[in-house]
């Protein structure tokens, strides 16, 4: 081989080496650039994916009650760990201060930093205009007053700031960012990150609305519960009142009924209560008794009216007790006379009970007389007259109802009383015939009676042994 030719060959080989070497470097450059571009794109895609992961996690929170603090703190944690942010803070509108916001929630700050960021107040104003739109502060951003204020007060060098609105009003700002911007580990915050955070703030707004709604519901429930308790308390008090009133009413009703029964026979009282009137009825076998104090007119002039009424009251109270004992109906008193009967309310009655009552009334007065001074004793004697026969019984009139009986049997009973003598129980023929086997009688024969002619009368002596 010629030396010149060898040199040429070497030169040629050197050219080849240089060619392949340059080509190799060129391909290397392209490959490394491509790798980096892919890495960058993948990083952006991953960041988007991470954003969706957060949105998905936030979405899962809905459909149940959201608690404001937990929800926000969890969101900040997701932002820091998933979007690889170093620090995130939420500043809340200060009460009573327009446009001024104060730190409320934070994540990723060291203890000493927390002490610094907690008391800060931030005015979201730029060039005398209120800030309402999200904004980025990255390495490339031009200087701005608000960015510098946030950087210095919240200790985040590079950040994205997004408003959180409720009912169209900005109630808070979320500021999240990094301490460093260095590609590829911490790429510059860009519009893609901003979009992600705006979406997250949208979910925060929805979450806060949910929390607020649940709070309102809880408050309403609490109010309702409190109202219910108050109502229940009132109902309990009212019920207690009503029970008391009811007891009083029952008591009053019983008193009223007792009073009514004092005035009227039970059957008549029931009829009157039910229909508002009581029909007069014929009673075939009534036995009517009259008692009358002897020399009452003279007695009444020897003592005061009050004393007289007191004495009459005492005696008539005891008469009433006796008539009740023998199931007689007290009809009424007329002056010093006491009128009672049996068989006037449809229950048949028994004439012997009337006689027994008459005897007991007489015995009572005689015994009572012994308690009186000697000069008054003659006045404490009664005449008793009893007659059996048909009467008409009932209530008449509209006011001051009183049960009464009418008929000849009644008039005759009065006459039998008039025909009696002090300390004696005088009965008519009809009564005698009904009770002759039960008592011993003294036949007095026919005795004249006012407007009645002569009437057969008997004194009751005693019970048959």
């Amino acid at each position: 081989m010629e030396p010149e030719s060898n040199d040429q060959q070497i030169k040629e080989l050197q050219r080849q080496v240089k060619y392949y070497r340059d080509l190799s470097d060129e391909v290397a450059g392209q490959n490394i650039r491509s790798d980096s571009q892919i890495s960058l794109l993948k990083r952006k895609l991953t960041q988007k994916e991470n954003g969706f992961t957060i949105l998905s996690a936030l979405h899962d929170s809905f459909g149940q009650q959201i608690f404001e603090e937990d929800f926000i703190v969890n969101t900040l944690l997701l932002i820091n760990t998933t979007l690889k942010m170093d620090k995130t803070v939420v500043v809340w509108k200060a009460p009573g201060k327009n446009h001024v916001f104060q730190t409320r929630f934070h994540m990723g700050f060291e203890k000493s930093e927390v002490e610094k960021i907690m008391p800060v107040e931030i005015d979201f104003f730029e060039a005398e205009e209120k800030i309402v739109r999200p904004f980025i502060k990255n390495k490339m951003s031009p200087p701005s007053h608000i960015a510098e204020e946030l950087q210095s007060k919240l200790l985040i060098p590079f950040f994205i700031s997004v408003p959180i609105r409720m009912r169209s009003e900005i109630i808070a700002w979320m500021i999240t960012g990094r301490e460093k911007e260095a590609w590829p580990f911490y790429p510059i915050l860009d519009e893609g990150d901003l979009d992600t955070l705006v979406s997250i703030s949208g979910f925060l707004e929805a979450g806060l609305s949910n929390a607020s709604l649940y709070n309102s519901l809880e408050k309403a429930n609490e109010e309702l519960e409190s109202y219910n308790q108050e109502l229940e308390k009132r109902v309990a008090e009212r019920t207690k009142d009503l029970r008391k009133k009811n007891r009083e009413l029952t008591f009053e009703k019983k008193r009223s009924e007792d009073l009514l029964l004092n005035i009227l026979p039970e059957e008549t009282a029931e009829e009157l209560k039910k229909y508002g009137f009581a029909k007069a009825k014929l009673q075939e076998n009534a036995t009517v008794m009259f008692t009358d104090f002897v020399n009452f007119t003279k007695f009444s002039s020897s003592i005061s009216s009050e004393e007289l009424v007191a004495e009459l009251d005492h005696c008539f109270r005891n008469f009433d007790t006796i008539t009740t004992k023998y199931r007689l109906e007290k009809i009424k008193t007329i002056g010093d006379a006491h009128m009672s009967a049996c068989g006037v309310t449809g229950d048949g009655g028994d004439a012997s009970d009337v006689i027994r009552a008459g005897l007991e009334m007489r015995d009572f007065v005689e015994k009572y007389a012994l308690e009186k001074p000697e000069h008054l004793r003659p006045y404490f004697k009664i005449r008793v007259g009893i007659n059996t026969g048909p009467v008409v019984s009932g209530v008449v009139g509209l006011k001051k109802f009183s049960f009464d009986i009418w008929g000849d049997t009644v008039n005759t009973a009065d006459r039998i009383q008039s025909g009696s003598i002090a300390g004696k129980v005088n009965v008519s023929e009809s009564t005698y015939l009904l009770t002759k086997d039960l008592f011993e009688f003294e036949n007095r024969g026919k005795i004249a009676a006012k407007n009645k002619g002569e009437i057969q009368m008997y004194f009751v002596e005693r019970k048959v042994n």
Binding site: Y20, R21, S24, D25, E26, V27, A28, G29, N31, I32, R33, D35, S36, I38, S39, K42, R43, T46, L77, N80, T81, K84, D86, M107, G108, E110, K111, R178, E179, K180, A182, W183, P184, F185, Y186
Partner: protein, 414 residues
């Protein structure tokens, strides 16, 4: 030898409350290991920088015995057999029972600006133990130097150089350079019973315990070789006798030269320690990530200062096959088992940059490690800023790499 095998359990939590996160993870770990608090011999613990280090440590300590020793620090993320997460509130706790082994813990503070000195002092302490090459070492050091406020990486090259000058015989080493996030916030470490900062520390096992590891390379050579012609520390000033920035700018696109802070993230340089013309072999490459650009000197600041003039480097593509991770994991498991060893637990130290969120990967490589283990033994994983492993008998800081380690004990018939 003990008839009872060593027990290990892992717990994980993402709770934002640091104390509670420590408690949750530790209780899980104890429960899975089947240990009482007092039986916890050694506790591995890691959390992200979002946590309060002191509170987390208190939480963990409250669940174990007074004699339990601790080893761990910040990590950008963590994993177990089923869990995986990074850049959040992840914490991971691993608890090791007593076994047929012994361990020593060595801590050296002050690594910032003094990587070489601290490496040397740590090496001396290790050398004093005189454990020889049979010792198994888990090495951790703080990646973040913020002693002057501004971030500066703690370099592994001078640190390892310092160590190598003190250690006559290297033990088997795996390890990591720790960070708690991708913003390089100051970090914390725990060693023994104390919490520390700005430190390097070593856990030295000896006895019936062994660490086997598999490097999961993540970069492939993409360009021609370029010779390094001028270097200042970790700053590569020239490639092929031209400003390094111009060379890579020419390759990657001149528009990037106008945005040098973006350019740095495209650049990974590979150093082939094998035959340069042989087909690509992952085990022959040491990768270096560019962490900054020197716009004045037109240089490239690398994550390590182990690139020297005369070396040839290639631009690397950050790319790997997930199947590769799976196959390598399974192979290591089979290899350990075939040596009549029982696996106590697996440790995966992963480069934070390999996480899917930061790379052009669609999957997490950790998922393939988890799947390959298939619950056969406990897995504790951490995302850090550099992996430490032996390549060709030399301890190296690796970038863009996963390091799968298996802690095992010899099966005995006692």
């Amino acid at each position: 030898m003990s008839a009872k095998y060593t027990s290990f359990g892992v717990g994980f939590s993402e709770t934002t409350n640091s104390t509670l996160a420590g408690v949750e993870a530790t209780k899980q770990a104890l429960s899975k290991a089947g240990l009482s608090p007092q039986e916890a011999q050694l506790c591995f613990l890691f959390c992200t920088s979002r946590h309060d280090a002191e509170s987390f440590f208190e939480g963990v300590k409250s669940c174990v015995g007074r004699e339990t020793q601790f080893f761990g620090g910040y990590s950008n993320g963590s994993c177990t057999n089923t869990e995986l997460g990074y850049d959040g509130y992840q914490v991971v706790v691993g608890i090791l029972s007593k076994g047929d082994y012994k361990f020593d813990l060595i801590l050296k503070e002050g690594i910032g600006f003094h990587e070489y000195e601290i490496g040397k002092e740590l090496g001396q302490e290790i050398q004093k133990k005189d454990l020889g090459r049979n010792a198994q070492m888990f090495l951790l050091f703080d990646a973040v130097n913020r002693l002057e406020g501004r971030f500066r990486m703690n370099y592994g090259t001078p640190f390892i150089k310092g160590m190598s000058e003190s250690i006559t015989e290297w033990p088997n080493i795996i390890g990591a350079r720790m960070l708690g996030d991708m913003k390089f916030k100051p970090t914390h470490q725990w060693c023994g019973r104390e919490m520390s900062k700005n430190a390097a520390m070593a856990l030295l096992f000896h006895g019936n315990i062994q660490i086997d590891s598999q490097i999961m390379h993540g970069c492939q050579p993409a360009s021609a070789y370029h010779q390094v012609t001028a270097v200042k520390g970790a700053n590569i000033l020239e490639l092929d006798n031209q400003p390094a920035l111009d060379v890579v700018g020419e390759i990657l696109g001149s528009d990037l030269i106008e945005r040098p802070q973006e350019l740095k993230f495209f650049v990974t340089l590979g150093k082939n320690v094998g035959d340069k013309w042989k087909p690509y072999s992952p085990g022959d490459y040491i990768n270096r990530m560019c962490v900054g650009v020197d716009t004045v000197g037109k240089g490239l600041y690398m994550a390590e200062m182990d690139i020297e003039p005369g070396m040839e480097v290639q631009l690397m593509r950050r790319s790997f096959e997930m199947e590769y991770v799976s196959i390598r994991t399974k192979k290591l498991i089979e290899r350990v088992k075939s040596n009549n060893r029982r696996i106590i637990f697996g440790l995966y130290i992963n480069c934070s940059g390999r996480a899917a969120a930061y790379s052009n990967q669609t999957d997490e490589d950790v998922r393939y490690v988890q799947s390959a283990i298939d619950g056969e033994f406990p897995l504790l994983g951490i995302y850090e800023a550099g992996e430490l492993a032996m390549i060709k008998d030399q301890l190296q800081v690796l970038d863009w790499t996963g390091l799968f380690c298996i802690f095992s004990e010899k099966i005995t018939n006692d």
